[in-house]
């Protein structure tokens, strides 16, 4: 399954608002999965010094990641495909 990152700039975001966005993203991905689409929020990283958040999704396509985020009302700058590498893989 391809992996994508949704890059967001969220100035002044609070931990509570991040939690809220997480619930919305999770429920929308779950709903889309029930609709037969393949999209799953994997994990997110918050970069405090740049106020950026990188959210990783397993999905069949970039469009599905964009749709999940739009339905969840979580803003993003761009969604791009990424290649994962971990120490176990090399």
């Amino acid at each position: 399954m391809p992996l994508f990152v949704a890059k967001r700039t969220l100035p002044g975001i609070t931990p509570a608002a991040l939690m809220s966005a997480g619930v919305r993203a999770k429920t929308c991905c779950a709903e889309m999965t029930q609709e037969g689409e393949s999209v799953r929020w994997v994990r997110s990283f918050f970069l405090p010094s740049t106020e950026q958040t990188h959210c990783y999704f397993d999905a069949a396509s970039k469009l599905l990641v964009e749709e999940a985020n739009q339905r969840a009302r979580v803003p993003f700058d761009e969604v791009i495909e990424v290649i994962e590498m971990t120490p176990d893989m090399v």
């Binding site: 939690m19 809220s20 619930v23 029930q34 609709e35 037969g36 009302r73 893989m89």
Partner: protein, 205 residues
């Protein structure tokens, strides 16, 4: 649940009313939600609880700005409660001071005051903690060796690999895994462990 309510109502936007109805439906049995001092009949709230929405015909729904505000408030309440996740009681408390929409209507019809509503939500959290403890006790009482579903740690132990390696297998699709409903925890079916093992075939020169 809120998304399903929106689908049932044929809506393309999920608002606070659908979130509240979703919470009440999550608490309900046979269309009746008991919450604190109140009994809510989902039928009278316009929810056809017997009929699941048709996935193919119903519209795709997005959260509204007002719904985002409710989730944000629930997030603040969850933080104050020392939780890293938003639970149903946090969402319900987020409605405690709402005067408009469905909550305003319920407040007038059922003479709901904010303190009693928050108290009912607090009791709900108590029930959840007791249930969690009971499930942990039940889990402890069955040894991993006799269980059909294993935690990632137990599955890694069974294969003799690091748990992060096992998680990489799950991510890459090599090893099927299941997610506990509504939670982040994974479970691996014992019978699936063989799927990451390949027979060693000597090279033929």
């Amino acid at each position: 649940m809120a998304i399903q309510i929106a689908r049932l109502r044929g809506l393309t936007e999920i608002g606070p009313d659908e979130i509240l109805l979703g919470c009440l439906q999550a608490l309900s049995r046979f269309g009746i939600a008991q919450f604190g001092l109140w009994t809510f009949d989902l039928d009278t709230l316009g929810i056809d609880w017997l009929n699941a929405p048709n996935k193919t015909n119903s519209p795709k729904a997005s959260y509204s700005d007002a719904a985002v505000a409710i989730f944000d408030r629930a997030g603040q309440i969850a933080r104050l409660d020392g939780c890293s996740d938003i639970h149903i009681e946090h969402l319900l408390v987020a409605f405690a001071n709402e005067e408009t929409g469905l909550m305003g209507d319920l407040r007038r019809r059922f003479a709901i005051d904010s303190a009693a509503w928050r108290s009912a939500a607090a009791n709900l959290a108590g029930v959840r903690f007791v249930n969690q403890d009971e499930s942990k006790i039940a889990e402890l009482s069955v040894s991993p060796a006799s269980r059909e579903y294993l935690t990632p740690e137990e599955a890694a132990e069974a294969l003799g690999i690091h748990v992060q390696t096992l998680r990489a297998y799950v991510r890459s699709g090599k090893l099927p895994a299941l997610r506990l409903a509504g939670e982040r925890s994974l479970r691996i079916r014992r019978a699936d462990l063989d799927k990451v093992l390949e027979p060693l075939v000597p090279d033929k020169q």
